[in-house]
């Protein structure tokens, strides 16, 4: 029965049987489904070594815990629970004296909100009152927030950046650890990314450009664009994204967006405060290019947010662009 038919050799059925026995891998050389065997062996050896280090440290840890921290920890936990109960009761009593939910006569529904709503369309031209508020009346607040994002990006760069030239060894370690637990050229992910990346980037641009007409704006749209870029990077690797999202591009985009924001809004505030004629007009409410500076400021904020999110991801993943 086991005599092999010459027709059978090399037929799809034989491949199927071999695949079922685990002798044949149809995706060998084309699709990587698991990390290479050598890396996994190194992983296992490292785990063995780790357990020794662990046992050594655990002894010392338990000793130290018993001696120094044990008593303090118990008091600390008891105090924390007491604090939690106290805080809960205090805040609940406070809440019980607040005006009821949805009450119109609550003190925060005062003439400021009324002024923003009644004069907003006329003065800013934005259909979305919140966008008109945060990007026109309170634009410097939003400018400070964009700067907070920029500073956070700088801090993450400072903490996690790996210098390729000065430290080739840790760059190699980063490259290797980046490949751990992650097969390259995942076809499912790549197909999904081919469809979803353009969609999410276009949707992000739509949300940014319509920030003054509909819900959304620079923050959410920028985050959506950043997520699309992150998806593309996850599917196709650093070689593809590194071609256009370079460090230089991100730096230029972020700094020029912040500078434009600062100067444009300074001009608008200066002319507005001194009752000077200004070429910024509210325009026709509802059109894309209306609402004065709000569209451009939304674009600036969107650029800053998208670059920041992308930089966070690359820094966390590999320590370089």
């Amino acid at each position: 029965m086991s005599r092999r038919d010459p027709k059978y050799t090399g037929s799809p059925w034989e491949h199927f049987a071999q695949w079922r026995r685990g002798e044949y891998d149809p995706s060998a050389g084309r699709l990587e489904t698991r990390p290479p065997e050598t890396e996994r062996r190194a992983d296992r050896e490292a785990a063995l070594l780790r357990s020794y280090v662990r046992a050594d440290r655990r002894d010392e840890y338990t000793l130290g815990l018993a001696k120094r921290i044990g008593g303090f920890n118990r008091i600390y936990r008891a105090l924390a629970v007491v604090l939690a109960l106290f805080l809960t009761v205090l805040l609940l009593v406070t809440v019980s004296y607040l005006p009821a939910f949805g009450d119109i006569s609550a003190p925060e529904n005062n003439e400021v909100a009324q002024r923003y709503i009644e004069k907003g369309l006329e003065e800013t031209g934005a259909v979305n009152i919140v966008a008109g508020m945060i990007l026109d009346y309170r634009a410097f607040d939003t400018f400070g927030e964009s700067c907070v994002l920029f500073v956070a990006m700088c801090c993450v760069l400072l903490l996690l950046r790996v210098d390729k030239e000065a430290d080739p060894h840790s760059q190699a370690v980063e490259d290797m650890s980046d490949r751990f637990f992650e097969p390259h050229h995942n076809t499912i992910l790549q197909m999904a990314a081919r469809i979803l990346t353009p969609l999410s980037v276009i949707f992000g641009i739509y949300v940014v450009l319509n920030g003054h007409i509909s819900p959304g704006g620079g923050f959410s749209g920028g985050a959506i664009i950043g997520t699309g870029l992150i998806l593309y990077l996850t599917a196709f690797g650093f070689a593809r994204t590194g071609a256009f999202m370079t460090e230089r591009l991100i730096k230029t985009l972020t700094v020029s967006a912040l500078t434009f924001y600062c100067f444009a809004k300074s001009y608008s505030f200066y002319t507005g405060a001194n009752h000077l004629p200004s070429f910024i007009t509210p325009g026709v409410p509802g059109a894309i290019l209306s609402a004065g500076l709000i569209v451009y400021l939304n674009v600036c904020v969107g650029i800053v947010v998208a670059c920041t999110m992308y930089t966070f991801y690359t820094m966390f993943r590999k320590g370089g662009f």
């Binding site: 805040l91 809440v95 709503i117 945060i134 956070a152």
Partner: protein, 140 residues
């Protein structure tokens, strides 16, 4: 006790979430759980603010059908404040995560108690080494 404790569900939830987040910060020794606790505290504050801006029976603050009357829309100010806060909180937690990765590189653990003990041990060794060196220097 005032009377509105039975209607302010959002505010009560905000209080409970705030305390849960604070307890995460105080009691958990894992750094990642501490970061999540801080995020939960952020969310509690935003929920409180947005609940205070809500007015029953009114629409979202977007002009519809050219109605400019203030009696049709909810209070937009808390929404603006919270919008600012959400994005700041994500950059804060990204910064905390970067610091956590740095700590993990140095101490190979996420447990704050363990990090404190390793730090203390390292300090003791350093002090011992310094005193030994200075003692040898004084002996000569």
């Amino acid at each position: 006790m005032g009377g509105s404790i039975f209607t302010n569900y959002e505010e009560i939830t905000a209080v409970v979430l705030f305390v849960i987040g604070l307890m995460d910060l105080l009691m958990q020794s894992n750094l990642v759980k501490k970061i999540i606790g801080l995020d939960i505290m952020d969310c509690a504050v935003y929920l409180f603010l947005a609940a205070k801006g809500y007015i029953a029976g009114r629409a979202a603050p977007i002009y519809v059908d050219g109605i400019l009357d203030a009696s049709h829309y909810i209070n937009p100010i808390p929404a603006g404040l919270v919008l600012t806060g959400i994005v700041v909180s994500v950059s804060v937690s990204a910064l905390l995560m970067a610091l956590t990765i740095c700590l993990y590189r140095e101490y190979h653990t996420l447990d704050l108690d363990e990090i404190m003990i390793l730090l203390r041990r390292r300090e003791t060794e350093e002090v011992r080494r310094l005193t030994r060196e200075s003692g040898e220097g004084g002996g000569k």
